[in-house]
Amino acid sequence: MNEQDQITTDPTKPAQRMRAGSMTISATPWIVAALVLIVLPMIFTNNSAITIMNQMAITIVFALAYNMLLGQGGMLSFGHAVYSGIGGFACMHIMNATEFFAVLPLPLLPIFGGLFGMGLAMIVGSFSTRSAGTVFAMISLGVGELIAASSIIIVAFFGGEEGISGDRTYSLPFFGIEFLKQIEVYYLISAWLMISTLLMYLFSRTPIGRMANAVRDNPERAEFLGYSARWVRFYSFIFSGFFAGIAGALFAINYEILTEENLNTTSSGVILLVTFLGGVGFFFGPILGAIVFTLVQTVLSLQTDLWAFYAGVLFVSTVMFFPGGLAGLIMMHVPAFKFGKARHLVLPYIRTLLPGLITILGLSALVEMIFHFRHAATGEDEMTLFWTTFDSHAVFPWIIAIVVTAAAFWITRRNVPGLVEAWHKANNFSGGRT
């Protein structure tokens, strides 16, 4: 038996056993995360950075809630934005119910959003969780489309096309804080981010969370053990609805407006993309996915009109080549670290990834140039790319871009075997420590 097996399965060393869906069972990551959340706005003080961080936190809560279904329960939902949307809309109505809202401290509002999301999940889950797989996916799609379409028809609750808006500052002041400033909202959202992440993590440790994994992997066997697969799915579904509702409520608090866009199929698709990109196999995967996607969305969309195209390419290549997502990619390196051989990977990585990065940048430069060539207004031949301005209709820039891309691609191809060899060496214990 080599050491790798011992790390993962030795029952006599429970502390070393790899647990499905967990990073660690110590408190350290939570304290670090809380400290980071407290310190972050002191480093990035401007308002736009705080807006991005708020958006990130909301997406994290939503993606984690979604992963309770997809990653831990094996249920693929194409309409999960509905539950966060309903939670958000309900909170908006509470904000507008002046008398009730005046005696309600704002930090308690997300609980109501969660309860409404959970309520809807109870109704839908009562018939959709009978089976997982395609039927569940189809029902979720149908219900999602149904509610998104009704949101335009039922004006009294959803406010039609312009949506409904409210004012968070009418709530009961919370220890003198009225949540007028963006930074106060940031801390409120961060607190809820910590609370709901911790709760969702603890849920995955409870027997019901464990059974969700069992039902995902083998529903028949779980039934033989005496558990109803349907009820296990139902519980995962309603708790996922609860936390999605909390995400919706946080959205309502942050933006003070909700529209049909918050519950349509596009939003549901985005959250699937975020979760899968981060990695469904590990608890922290969706967190990574949410952070990376929000950055791509906000930062890249300022730079280029084609950001959705790049996001699509990234998504499809993730599904094709790294089904474990970013988290899976990171966790692949754990054995190498445990063997103390990770440093042997550094040089081959630099040799391969640096030209690889240049290849990708070169390709995207070519894509941008083609786009500019086809769609720019006539007469506007100048374009700026990577801090250089040139004429996209001249031949010279094209030659440079193609040559650089091809050369970088060639170097990458040449260095890949070296990386593969180094990888095998680093993950093979029998080679001995050097």
């Binding site: 799609l141 149908g142 149904l146 698709g269 094709m320």
Partner: protein, 318 residues
């Protein structure tokens, strides 16, 4: 009475168009057990390719060549994309086709831009075929009906009467046995995927001029196509036909007859509340059938899935 006839024809056109998409989709599903989310995207590609070709060589060449290109693209997607993802399981496959749908939409916007393309009905077919009580029926609609019916008959003939069709049918149910008999099953799968997407391409090429060729056209039709094959029963060709026609007619009739919810509720004995403007159910009271025409298929699907998960004519649980 005349209006009924006109609506029947309109619904038939919509239904047959849906059928051309759902036929390919349901074949692909019964073969690989995976719902192809990108199916409607191939329909969109068909429309765009046909448009691009029609600019240089006219409508008819476009109608002929575009589906072939789409079919080749589809076969390529199966060979180099789906087959690779297949090893990870069903959910990643579904997610892959979902991502592909997003990517194709972005790709189309990248190449052709966001605006609608001026893809028009060819001059030869741009006349009124006949009129029913003052409602003129364009010849193009009749043309669409003929093409779809011809394709359906051709498909049925190939699948049930020819040797190739027999092998395909056998490969759908018992791929291992067919493989053991010496047939190249992966190739059959690739071929069926290619033909299925080519059918979607045909639908796109003939629907592009009437429904508009724009980047959102896949999204508009995409989920309805799923609804169709779920209602009809996953994997059933006849079910797909019945469900397509059903949906075509339901939506057309709901749009052309203005049935108000108030009348229905009054009819079953519930009287309209006095102060409708303050009532929380006011939106329910003012609903009319054209308003909800587009969501009727979804309601139907959810009901079908709850009460008869096999679909109308399906034999197996999805």
């Amino acid at each position: 009475m005349e209006l009924v006839l006109v609506n029947l024809i309109d619904g038939l056109v919509t239904g047959l168009l849906l059928f051309m998409l759902s036929a390919g989709l349901t074949l692909i599903f019964s073969m690989m057990g995976v719902l192809n989310f990108a199916h409607a995207s191939f329909y969109m590609l068909g429309a765009y390719f046909a448009y691009q070709i029609s600019l240089y060589m006219g409508f008819w060449v476009g109608l002929l060549v575009a589906p072939i290109i789409v079919g080749i693209a589809g076969a390529g997607v199966e060979r180099y994309g789906l087959r690779r993802v297949h090893q990870y399981g069903h959910v990643p496959e579904l997610i892959f086709t979902f991502g592909l749908a997003l990517l194709i939409e972005e790709l189309v916007q990248f190449i052709w831009g966001k605006n609608q393309m001026p893809f028009d009905i060819p001059e030869v077919l741009n006349f009124t075929a006949f009129a029913i009580a003052g409602n003129s029926i364009p010849a193009y609609k009749i043309f669409m009906i003929f093409i779809s019916v011809a394709i359906f008959i051709g498909l049925l003939f190939v699948l049930t009467k020819t040797r190739v069709g027999m092998i395909i049918q056998a490969a759908l149910s018992y791929p291992r046995t067919v493989e053991a008999l010496g047939h190249n099953v992966p190739l059959i799968f690739m071929g069926v995927f290619g033909v299925g997407t080519a059918l979607a391409g045909v639908a796109g090429a003939i629907a592009g001029p009437v429904l508009g060729t724009f980047p959102g056209m896949a999204f508009v039709l995409g989920s309805i196509v799923f609804v169709t094959i779920v209602i009809g029963g996953l994997g059933s060709l006849w079910g797909a036909l019945v469900a397509s026609l059903l949906i075509g007619w339901i939506t057309t009739f709901a749009k052309s007859y203005n049935i108000r919810m108030e009348d229905i509720l009054n009819g079953i004995g519930i009287s309209t509340p006095e102060y409708l403007d303050d009532n929380i159910f006011r939106d329910l009271w003012t609903i009319t059938s054209p308003q909800i025409a587009d969501i009727l298929p979804y309601i139907l699907m959810v009901l079908i899935l709850i009460f008869r998960p096999y679909g109308l004519l399906g034999k197996r649980d999805a």
